[in-house]
Structures are given as structure tokens and as C-alpha cells.
């Protein structure tokens, strides 16, 4: 094992800025995205969604719709009783065979009662899109409208309508209605030992993943074998989920995802769209294509869970943390798709910690994984809170962070390497923190005020199992078979670069075979920022296996091939692996108009060794920009009286445009801790997680008013300063 932060010898391919190997196909329109797939005799499908936030379906009459010429088949809860396993999971952890048996609050493909505006009620397959859409209007649904509840704290009140018989606190993996609780030490002792105790409340909004490509799916059956073309972040988990849900063997399901237009977490696992399309195709006896509109995608898939966070923090007078207590509420929508955790407390070293999180059912759109699932909202809460503690103690927040930030994971387990201090010191210097940060927030004269904010992060970079196969033919072509898709982070290119490096051959000799479960071995899927770490490591191992074959048998000739494969499952020896980072932001707030502009943004990251600086920088920039959007723009506003979402879509949710995106400066502090492929750690999610807090803290520093509810929009700024 390499020593911590030892100097890294340069490599031949890895570490060099490399354009994507499929860039030309993508920008010339040659790349086949899911929605480009057309099969002979293919039907088109549309979904009828609930117009009510909560209602029981008394009766569905599909006779008129079926009579419309061109309509081939219609599914409703009456003729399609399939459980979408990954859509509702006790405890919200990974969906698997065991959890399928346990899960009590099951989500069906079509539910009765329907529990949010957008819950699928029926699906139609017809000869073309227009007939399918017209048919939806002919389906008559007789609803018994039920009471509904939108906010998690409201939903826990005794008189709130029960969305599930056991109540609105989502069940854990043991099917108990208990909040998720973690404790270290005893917070009451910690508060007694504190000189000062601060309390506050922060809230975050639902933000949609808002990937460019709306969901679509094409299903076709040959005998008892199902082929699904679907934009998924994980072909392997999509296959196992779909097989489990449909009750067919995995080898009877083929998942193909060649090119995709992003997902940011809402295309992982399988989707109800996959199951609906598969069943429509089976019933119609023809290939079926289902397409989501942008509105379908916004309300019918999922976004980041909104939270309410109550903090209580005890410190000594010189700014040393004694106790942190969090009581949090996460709005999960009516189905438990993910944990609903609120991360961030672990960023601090502190002897007494207590975190009690209530994942709560509501009648809003479902919440689930979105880039750093529990962190951007949690980091916003805790890092705003700590920024405020530092302010009230008259401390520079950089000094406060340096004094209190994590040194060991949960204060006990060492990291494989530790660079957080370096991230903060080098960042503060390059950013000119002392010049840009205002010791007295809001002190600029005149209506236009500047200020600076900082935040930091540590993000999991665990190892794990994966597979790779490399085949060498007599022409000297190396074919790398990996079960990755390419969500946008450039996995294909990364795998090719790692293979070229490990094989000591030029990149041009390597081709990648990806995105098809019938051709590629298992890969974890592009979630959790782990494809490079896990599948990249398998590629090195497969290359080593191939090199041993070559050494033994010589290079292949004629029609012969040599194949190297590997299925590693590396483990850490009692350490925790994390990527680190710190973000520094300067904003300008026009206090007459309530406008916030980001003037300068510096993101400093240790993601281990950088595989491809071109792609890595883009990942950091993209995450930071997304964080700015979450801090200042995005929301899904509901009408409280009727439970209807009002701002679904790119226009309504006020997503940032290119013109809103500031220049993001990226600085990498590279390291090789001896784990992962050449020391690579996680990147994809890590840059969004501190961004929201950094922007919010900069706004505070500029205007001298703490904005405690996201997004920090004009109405809130002007309201606060009025």
C-alpha cells in the first residue's frame, strides 16, 4: 500500500485530458438514444395519471377508450397487479429478494388508492402517439376523493389523514414505525458542558433531477424473453429488479442502454415505466414504446426529498463543538423509494451527537435519489447552522471549520488518506478568502452588497465488487466488456483509458462494449459515484489476467482470441475511504431588487488520482452549478388547497440556464491512497453536496440576514430586508 499523500508518478494514458471516445457520435446525431430505437410493428404508449393527490378509485371504465380505432391494449390496476419493488421499500435501502418479502407498504405499478397527483392510473398502447393520447381522455375514472397532506410535519400530527394504515411515518427495514436514530455520547451531557447553545430551523425544497432526457422505454418479447431498451443508470440492477418484479428468471430479461441523456439518480434501478411497457407489449403481442412528457417526468419519477431540520448545537466559548442534535423530517411522497436520510453531522468532530430523522409519507410527488442523495440538503442545514455559530462567536468560519471538521470518520476510524485541511488552506489562499469575506456581514455600503461563503465535504469512496472481461484478437484489438452505461460522466471513456493504461497500449487499440446485459458482465451501475472505483478496478484486474495469458501463450494469431476476466471484490483494511473538498463562493446581492449573482466560485477537490481531467472538471462544474440552482432557484410549488403541483417542468421550476451559470474554477489536490484504480476516488456526486451551503453562507455574509428556507429567491430576500 502506498503511503498517504505520497508523490504520484505520472501515468501514460490515465491522468491526461482525453476527449470522450464517443464524442463524435453524440454530437453528430449518430448515437442511438433509447427514444431513437424503432422496432417493426411498434406501438406507442401513454400513461393516464391521477389528477387527485389522494383518492380511491371506485370504478374505471375503459370501454370507450378500447373502442377507439387504433387502440390495442389498456392496463389498469384491475388487470395488472404488479408490484414495483424498487418503487416502495421498507427502510428505503437497496431493493433485493429479502426486502421484497418484508416490505409492507408496497407500491404497485397501478395503485388504488392513488396517493399523489401523477400516480399512474392506466396505460394505453395504440398504433400511434395521438391515438394513445386521445384514448386517455376516453378512460372514465370514478374517484372517491380523500383528504390529503403535503408537509411532513403536518403529516405526523394525530389528526392527519393516514396515507397508509400504519400511519405516515414510513416503516423501517424491520417494518417498525421508528425514526432513523444515531447517537454517539450523550447530547445532554454535551449541552451541559457547553458555554453556549444555539438552536435553529432550516428547510429545503423538493428539486427535480431535471436531466435532459425524459424517460422512455421500448419493450419487446421473443417467446418468454423480454428485451427492454431503457435509459437506466444500471443495466444489471434494472435487469434483476425487472425479473424479480415480473417473476421471471434474470436470464430471460435483456436490458439495453447504449446512450442516455442523464439521470442524476432518478434512472437507477428499474422504473415503473419499464414494467408498464413490458406488460403492454406482452398483452398486445407487439413491441411497445412508452414516452414520458416533461411533465410526466417531473411529477411521475422522483426528485430530492424536501426536509425540515431542527438543530441544537453546543460549543465552548472558543468555538469547540461539544454537542450536535438534529431532529429532521423528510418528505418522501407516498412511497418509500429511498432512505430519506439527512447527512452532514458526520462532517464534524464532536463527542456528543444525536440525529433523529423521520421519513414521512405525504401526498406529494415521490422523493428519491438525486446526486448525493442525503447530502446537499443536509449539508445546507448543518453548514448554515455552523456558519451561524461561528458568526455568533465572532469567528471566521474558515477557522471554525478547521477547528471542528472531521479528522477521522465518526471520530474513530482513520481515513485512507486525509486532505481536508489542504483543501481548505489552499482554497482559502487561492480564493483570497480574507479579502472577500466580510467580518461584519452586510456591511457594504449602498444597495449592492458582496460577501463570501465557504463549505466543505467528505464523500464516500468505498470499494466494491464488479466485473470486467477483456478480449484480444489477432489484429491487436482489445475489447473491454463492462456492464456500464454512460449516464454522462464518461464511464466508457474512463474504462477504455484504464484498460489502455493497464495493458500499456494506445487508447486507439481499445474498444468498449457496454450497456447490454446479454453482452456485458455485472457492474454496480452508475450510482453512488462508484463506477470508476469498482468497475475500473475490475478492468485493471482483467488486464492483468489477460497479460498473464499473453505471457503464457503469446499473442493470438488467425482466428484465435485471448480472454482475461476478473471479478474482484476488494475490501478496506479497517479504514474509511472518502473524497474531500471545499467550496468558496463570492456573491453580489442587489438588495433593492433581491437579485443574487455569483461572482466567483472556487471548488477544491481531492478525488484521488484524476483519471481524465477533462471529464472530471466538467463533473465538478456541473455539480456546483446544480448546487447554485438548488440554493437560489428550484422548487416544486404546490397549491395547498387542492394538492396540485404548479411548477413542474423546466420553465416552472426556474432551472438555471447557461446564461445563469457562472465560471466555476476547479482545483484538484490529487492523491493515491493505494486503493481503487490508480488511487481514483469518487467525483460525480461530491461537487453538488457542499455547493448549496457555500452559496447560502455567501448570501448571509453579503446581506447580514440568514436565509433559512430554500430556495433563496427574490421574494424571500426582499421580504427579509423589508
Amino acid at each position: 500500500m502506498r503511503q498517504q499523500n505520497a508523490p504520484m508518478p505520472p501515468l501514460k494514458t490515465v491522468g491526461h485530458a482525453t476527449p470522450r471516445i464517443d464524442a463524435a457520435e453524440r454530437v453528430t446525431g449518430k448515437a442511438t438514444y433509447t427514444n431513437d430505437v424503432r422496432l417493426p410493428g411498434m406501438l406507442y404508449a401513454r400513461i393516464l395519471r391521477s389528477a387527485h393527490p389522494h383518492a380511491r378509485i371506485r370504478r374505471i371504465d375503459i370501454s370507450k377508450a378500447l373502442a377507439l380505432p387504433g387502440v390495442k391494449t389498456i392496463l389498469t390496476h384491475e388487470n395488472c397487479e404488479i408490484v414495483w419493488g424498487a418503487g416502495g421499500i421498507s427502510g428505503g435501502q437497496q431493493y433485493n429478494d429479502d426486502i421484497k418479502k418484508i416490505t409492507k407498504h408496497r407500491r404497485y405499478v397501478f395503485n388504488n388508492p392513488v396517493r399523489f397527483v401523477g400516480d399512474p392510473v392506466a396505460a394505453v398502447a395504440a398504433v400511434n402517439r395521438h391515438v394513445a393520447e386521445e384514448a386517455l381522455r376516453l378512460i372514465q375514472v370514478d374517484y372517491e376523493v380523500l383528504n390529503f397532506v403535503l408537509e411532513p410535519e403536518e403529516a405526523l400530527k394525530p389528526d392527519a389523514v393516514k396515507i397508509w394504515p400504519e400511519g405516515n411515518l414510513s416503516l423501517n427495514a424491520q417494518n417498525q414505525a421508528q425514526p432513523a436514530t444515531t447517537r454517539r455520547g450523550n447530547v445532554e451531557d454535551g449541552f451541559r458542558a457547553s458555554d453556549v447553545v444555539f438552536e435553529d430551523r432550516y428547510t429545503t425544497a423538493f428539486v427535480h433531477n431535471a436531466q435532459m432526457e425524459p424517460r422512455s422505454c421500448i419493450a419487446t418479447w421473443e417467446g418468454d424473453k423480454l428485451t427492454l431498451y431503457t435509459p437506466t443508470q444500471g443495466i444489471s440492477n434494472c435487469r434483476s429488479d425487472t425479473a424479480r418484479d415480473l417473476g421471471i428468471p434474470q436470464e430471460k430479461v435483456q436490458i439495453i442502454c447504449q446512450y442516455m441523456g442523464g439521470g442524476f439518480g432518478n434512472k437507477n434501478q428499474n422504473q415503473d415505466a419499464d414494467l408498464i411497457t413490458a406488460m403492454l407489449s406482452k398483452q398486445a403481442g407487439a413491441p411497445v414504446k412508452l414516452e414520458f412528457t416533461r411533465k410526466d417526468d417531473f411529477i411521475g419519477v422522483h426528485g430530492r426529498w424536501p426536509t425540515v431540520q431542527y438543530y441544537k448545537v453546543g460549543v465552548s466559548r472558543d468555538g469547540v463543538l461539544k454537542a450536535i442534535q438534529l431532529r429532521g423530517y423528510s418528505g418522501m411522497g407516498p412511497y418509500r423509494k429511498n432512505t430519506g436520510a439527512i447527512g452532514g453531522i458526520d462532517l464534524y468532530q464532536c463527542p456528543h451527537i444525536e440525529s433523529v430523522i423521520y421519513p414521512v409519507y405525504t401526498n406529494k410527488t415521490v422523493s428519491g435519489n438525486f446526486r448525493g442523495p442525503e447530502y446537499p440538503q443536509g449539508f445546507y442545514g448543518i453548514e448554515s447552522m455552523m456558519d451561524d455559530v461561528a458568526y455568533k462567536l465572532k469567528m471566521d468560519p474558515v477557522e471554525f471549520i478547521l477547528k471542528n471538521m472531521t479528522r477521522k470518520s465518526r471520530d474513530e476510524v482513520p481515513y485512507t488518506n486525509y486532505s481536508l485541511e489542504e483543501c481548505i488552506h489552499r482554497g482559502a489562499e487561492a480564493f483570497e478568502w480574507k479579502k472577500r469575506w466580510r467580518p461584519q456581514p452586510g456591511s457594504d455600503g449602498g444597495p449592492i452588497k458582496r460577501g463570501a461563503g465557504v463549505s466543505f465535504m467528505a464523500f464516500r469512496s468505498a470499494l466494491g465488487r464488479s466485473n470486467a472481461v477483456i478480449r484480444l484478437d489477432a489484429k491487436g484489438k482489445y475489447s473491454v466488456f463492462v456492464g456500464v452505461t454512460d449516464i454522462g460522466a464518461g464511464a466508457k471513456t474512463t474504462m477504455a483509458m484504464i484498460a489502455a493504461e493497464a495493458l500499456a497500449v494506445p487508447l486507439s487499440k481499445v474498444e468498449v462494449v457496454w450497456g447490454d446485459t446479454d453482452r456485458c458482465p455485472y457492474s454496480v451501475g452508475e450510482s453512488g459515484s462508484r463506477t470508476t472505483i469498482q468497475t475500473g478496478y475490475a478492468v485493471i484486474q482483467a488486464a492483468d489476467a489477460l497479460k498473464r495469458q499473453i505471457a503464457e501463450k503469446g499473442l493470438p494469431t488467425g482466428q484465435n482470441v485471448l480472454v482475461g476476466s476478473a471479478s474482484p471484490n476488494p475490501v478496506l483494511d479497517g479504514k474509511v475511504r472518502a473524497a474531500f473538498g471545499a467550496h468558496f463562493v463570492e456573491v453580489e446581492v442587489d438588495t433593492d431588487l433581491g437579485t443574487v449573482r455569483v461572482l466567483k466560485y472556487l471548488a477544491v477537490h481531492d478525488s484521488g488520482r484524476i483519471m481524465n481531467p477533462l471529464a472530471a472538471k466538467s463533473q465538478i462544474k456541473g455539480g456546483a452549478i446544480m448546487g447554485i440552482g438548488m440554493a437560489l432557484h428550484e422548487d416544486l410549488i404546490y397549491d395547498r388547497r387542492n394538492g396540485q403541483p404548479l411548477t413542474a417542468g423546466f420553465y416552472g421550476a426556474r432551472l438555471m440556464t447557461h446564461r445563469d451559470a457562472p465560471e466555476i474554477e476547479v482545483m484538484f489536490i490529487e492523491s493515491d491512497d493505494g486503493y481503487g484504480p490508480y488511487g481514483a476516488k469518487s467525483i460525480g456526486e461530491s461537487s453538488k453536496v457542499p455547493a448549496v451551503a457555500a452559496v447560502a453562507n455567501a448570501v448571509f455574509n453579503a446581506i447580514g440576514w440568514r436565509m433559512k428556507d430554500l430556495p433563496i429567491t427574490r421574494d424571500k430576500i426582499l421580504g427579509a430586508l423589508a
Binding site: H130, L593, D639, Q644, R654, R659, R714
Partner: protein, 329 residues
Amino acid sequence: MKSFANSNARDLQHAVTLAQQTHQQGHAAAFVGGGSDLLALVKERIVGPDVLVNLKTIKGLDQVKPANDGVNIGGLITLDALSRHDLIRTRYTVLAEAAETVATPQIRNVGTLAGNVCQRPWCWYFRNGFPCYKNGGNTCFSFVGENQFHAIFGGGPSYIVHPSDTAVALLALDAKFRIAGPSGERILPAAEFFALPQQNPARENVLAPDEALAEIQVPVTRMGTRSTYHKIMDREAWTHAVVSAAVVLEMDKQVCRSARVVLGGVAPIPWRLPKVEQMLAGQRINEALAAKAAETALEGAKPLAKNAYKVPLTKGVVRRTLLELAARG
């Protein structure tokens, strides 16, 4: 979306006839220029015309033509062409500036001036198909609902804000609207074209069925006139004005001879401020006067539960826009 037929119009009268014939057959017709607003409404099933009467086939209706007493602008000119037109940029700056703030380059490449002026509201209740006044119902959901972006002036019974940027500029330029209809043509001053909800809560203007906005006539600006459009947006592109101001000042050296000030984003119609205009006439525009004008501008504002921020915001916009324009040499 619902299926529809397309009917190409040869000229304005033909367009009106096509629309009339469609109605006489019991079908719904809609005039279409660039279609950027109409098609979105059709796709969302907010409107469901059986026949689209295509105005783009009418020749010459997309031109800027100097006239004796000003300039005549064909309603079919694209927002992009309008914003780039030399004469418009130099003499009617407020209109060019308003046009270039609309939506996105793609939409400005197809969206027309007439279409922008007649654009339907972007109230989220209307666009989400709620049975509100604008959708033929008898409720305004925003009044006790989510009204962050709604009217602080002129509201009731509907509280939408007029969505058009160019309309605000045209009112500030004292433009006249030439309208083609079943009984021939009529010309209306901009101020009489837009209609408050108390007049007709379902519509934003006085266009009768089968009437189309054909041309806009802008009177000549006098020497020393300068103008500008200031639009506050919640992002840098593709969104409507939270608040906007169109200001036209006729200056005699440092003294403002006359002023026209119109607000967007605050009322169901472009909202003219005659009291402010009187206050500015014959005065030097300095900090104190601009601040006083801003206070006066907001007299009578009636914010709803969630849009009180528009009051200080609008004050800021009025004050800043007056000062910046007065300082422009």
C-alpha cells in the same frame, strides 16, 4: 395533442374569412403566426382549435415600414428581426430591448410581435388547466392560493399579470394597433387594446372573435427622445418579467420635457403611470425625484398574500430605470 387542420391565408381578409367559415361550421379556429405560444397551449390541451388559420402565408406583414408620422410594423415580424432592426434600435429602443428579452433565441426566431402582444397569461393555474376565469371558469385560484407572481394592480376578479414584454414597450410608445376583423379594419390606441379582468376576465384584450392583430403603428419620436426597457427575471433567459418598466423620456438637455412610464409584471394589462409621468414633466430627474416617482408609482398597490415583495422591487426598478435613462447622454 388534439388533431387540427391547417389553413393558409392569402391576405388578412382571407384569414378572417377562413376563421369565420370555421366558426360557422361549428368548429374552433385560431390564428397562428410563429405558433410558439399557441402550440404549447394546444399540447397542454388548454385550447383545442380544429383549424389553425396560418398568417405566415400573408406576404409583407413582417416588415418595418417608415410612415409619415412614424413607423408601421407588421404583426408577423419575428421578435428577433424586430430587436435587430436598425431603425427600431435607434429610434424606438425600448421596443427593441423589450423584444430581445423575450424567452430564448429559438422562440424569438419564430415568435412574432403580434403573437407576443396577444400571448396568453403564464399564470400557473391557467397553464395547468385549472377551471379558472381564463379557462372559462368563474374562479381565480391565485387569489387565495399561490400568488407569488400575480398582480398588485388592477386585479379582480382575475389576478394574472400580462405576460408580454413588447406590449409594455408599445404602450410607452403610444402605439396604435391595426386590427382586421369581419367588419373590416379598425385602429385602436394601445391603451384601449388591453382589457382589465373587470371588463372581461376571460381575455386580456378587446379582440373580438375572428379579429386578428395585423399591424402596429408607432408615432414618430421627437428629438431628444430616449427610451429603455428594464426587465427583472428570475433567471437570465426563458422567463417572463417578475416586474418590468418601459420608460420613454423626451429630454431637453437635462430637463425632462415629457415622460411615459409603463410597468409590466404588476397588473393584468401593461400598467401606465400617468401620475408619475406628470411628476417628471418639466423636471430634472435626480435621485430625489426618482425616489419620489418610485413612491408615487406604487400608490394604490394591493399586494396579495405572497407578492408583497413586488412593491419594493417595483420601486427599485422605477427609480433605477429613470436615473439610468436620464443619465444616458
